[in-house]
């Protein structure tokens, strides 16, 4: 045990030495105490402004009644963590169903969106017939939006109102993600694809066996963007969904936290914890999936965004 630990520590140290750290360039003077302090205040202040609200909702959702009452409603650190608020919101079916709806639209939506974006981006990234006009069709969507009312009428016309598909289908393609994906595909050497074609591979085969394995990073990034978009979608839900059983989490969040609707009766729970911590628990439920996937994907996204933004 100790051997592996110290071994791990040694590897870590070695990695640190090997990793590229240019340090301060010779020409760059160290910050003067004044500028150093100003910089530290700015960086510290910004960090706190992000950490404190998140800590506040998580802690308050976990605080027990006594502490909450003693602290006047807000807790920055729960002394006796309790899951009573979570038990309460999950005691009725309402919240579980909302989570299910959100999970469903996120999973199916991301899959469909990636499928459409990848096929379209790959096809237009190669010199093929109709490639250019189709590219222009996509880029035009960046300039002009059809508008809210015509979109609503279209969704209604297709009979999608009050179905989960109204939350999925309109969001399955985003020009920005397409541009990121396409510029990545354009960097794949044409020789590689030519070679596969000479060996008799079809377009779909080439996409599946050669292009996709090379593009894992960009797929992760674009997939994350889509997934976050679907998880966060509130407006479409408000527009297209009336049926309470189809509410996604964001709509629940708005109705019972932002607008402060009475949760206990709507959600169908017998409210024992203070409403404050139940509200916070809903906030945390909406927040948690993002916090969970974020660390895994954030190392990719700078690169992904930059390829899209600079080359697009």
């Amino acid at each position: 045990m100790t051997a592996t630990l110290s071994g791990r520590r040694a590897t870590k140290r070695l990695n640190k030495q090997l990793s590229f750290n240019p340090g301060r360039p010779a020409w760059k003077e160290p910050a003067s105490p004044l500028y150093g302090t100003i910089k530290a205040i700015i960086i510290g202040g910004i960090s706190l402004s992000i950490v404190i609200p998140l800590l506040l909702v998580i802690s308050t959702s976990l605080a027990d009644d006594e502490q909450l009452i003693a602290a006047g409603g807000f807790v920055l650190w729960p002394t006796h963590p309790s899951f009573a608020a979570y038990q309460a919101i999950f005691s009725g079916e309402f919240m579980i169903r909302a989570l299910g709806v959100s999970a469903f639209i996120t999973a199916i939506g991301t899959f469909l969106a990636l499928f459409i974006t990848i096929t379209m981006a790959y096809a237009t990234s190669r010199p093929v017939m109709l490639g250019r006009p189709v590219l222009l069709l996509v880029l035009f969507t960046l300039l002009f939006a059809p508008g809210l009312i015509p979109m609503f009428l279209m969704v209604k016309q297709l009979g999608l109102l009050n179905t989960v598909w109204s939350l999925i289908l309109p969001g399955t393609f985003a020009a920005f993600n397409f541009v990121v994906m396409r510029s990545f595909f354009m960097n794949i050497p044409a020789e590689l694809i030519e070679a596969a074609r000479i060996d008799g591979a079809s377009d779909f085969m080439i996409l599946r066996k050669i292009v996709l394995p090379l593009s894992k990073a960009v797929i992760a990034v674009v997939g994350l963007f889509y997934a976050v978009g679907f998880w966060n979608a509130f407006f479409n839900a408000m527009l297209y969904i009336n049926d309470q059983t189809l509410y996604p989490v964001q709509l629940v969040l708005r109705n019972y936290v932002v607008q402060g609707g009475s949760m206990a009766e709507a959600i169908g729970v017998t409210s024992t914890p203070p409403p404050q911590s139940m509200q916070m628990a809903i906030v945390v439920v909406a927040l948690l999936p993002i916090l969970i996937v974020y660390p895994f994907l954030q190392k990719h996204f700078t690169k992904g965004v930059i390829t899209g933004a600079i080359k697009g």
């Binding site: 360039p25 096809a123 779909f204 966060n232």
Partner: protein, 293 residues
């Protein structure tokens, strides 16, 4: 390959190009039960009504006020942040700070407003503390007069870190030997920033300004809809929420479509105009005659 374009083209047709055609109801007296083919054509009457509708002008004014606030207060923040982050020598601190400031971008507007409410709202952390100290509470979240400032702060909190990425990328692409040469010639940090860093960022700044100006009529939707009740329509009604309330809520389908169409067309024209100005300034802008790569 043609086969691969089918899903995408089908999507564009269904959820972009056909709805664009649906904008014709802006020139109709659209009745849902009659449909587009059955409704009467009224020419420009809906636009004329809009012109005489005071609510529309309130929405337009709010939109422009908010856009100006965003331009003045939001736009420089990511640039400043990027300069600060770029000046950090410690890679560890840099990475750690970057991951943290990117995070709010991935939170939904509902969450952001909920978080702001919990901190600044009437029953929120700050006002609770003020009450405990025996001081007057401050209606941060419900005061229509200060709403533009609040909305801009919310936007900065959510997206400034994310908007910084693009500046960081262009900072990284500036040739380091320029700095070295300038330093050898005796240029201090401010001179180097003025003569190397900022010119190096010039084209990206122009590009983002164009995009921002083209988007000036779209200040955001969810953010304002969510706070519509709290601060009232007088301060938070923007063109997008106007379209929603007039069209979907009020049943004035044609009026809503007219407002949306006017907004879309003006927005597209603004992008073209701004792009033209960028070309005059000798910058590449967003698109040249030849669109694409």
């Amino acid at each position: 390959m043609l086969l691969m374009m089918i899903p995408g083209v089908a999507f564009l047709a269904l959820f972009f190009y056909i709805p664009i055609l649906g904008n014709v109801i802006a020139f109709q007296d659209y009745q849902p039960f009659l449909g587009i083919s059955g409704s009467d054509w009224v020419g420009l009457a809906n636009f004329v009504d809009l012109y005489f509708n005071p609510d529309f002008w309130v929405a337009l004014r709010n939109t422009i006020v908010l856009a100006v606030w965003q331009l003045v207060l939001f736009f420089p923040v990511p640039l400043g942040l990027a300069l600060i982050v770029d000046s950090l020598v410690s890679n560890k601190l840099r990475r750690w700070f970057q991951s943290l400031v990117y995070l709010p971008h991935f939170l939904s507007w509902v969450l952001v407003i909920a978080l702001f409410q919990q901190v600044l709202g009437g029953a929120g952390l700050v006002n609770n503390t003020l009450r405990d100290l025996g001081m007057d509470t401050v209606p941060f979240m419900t005061n229509p007069d200060t709403f533009p400032l609040l909305a801009t702060i919310q936007l900065v909190w959510k997206d400034a870190g994310w908007a910084m990425i693009i500046f960081l990328a262009s900072l990284a692409s500036i040739d380091g030997s320029l700095y070295e040469a300038a330093a050898a010639d005796g240029a201090g940090r401010w001179r180097r920033m003025w003569h190397i860093t900022l010119p190096g960022l010039r084209s990206i700044i122009v590009l983002l300004l164009i995009l921002r100006i083209g988007d000036i009529l779209s200040v955001g939707f969810e953010q304002f809809l969510l706070q519509h009740d709290a601060v009232g329509a007088g301060a938070s009604e923007v063109l997008d929420t106007f379209t929603y309330f007039a069209g979907v809520v009020g049943g004035g389908w044609s009026a809503g479509a007219a407002a949306g169409l006017a907004k879309g067309v003006v927005g597209a024209l603004l992008i073209f105009a701004a792009n033209k100005v960028a070309h005059r300034l000798g910058e590449p802008g967003i698109f040249q005659k030849k669109v694409g790569s």
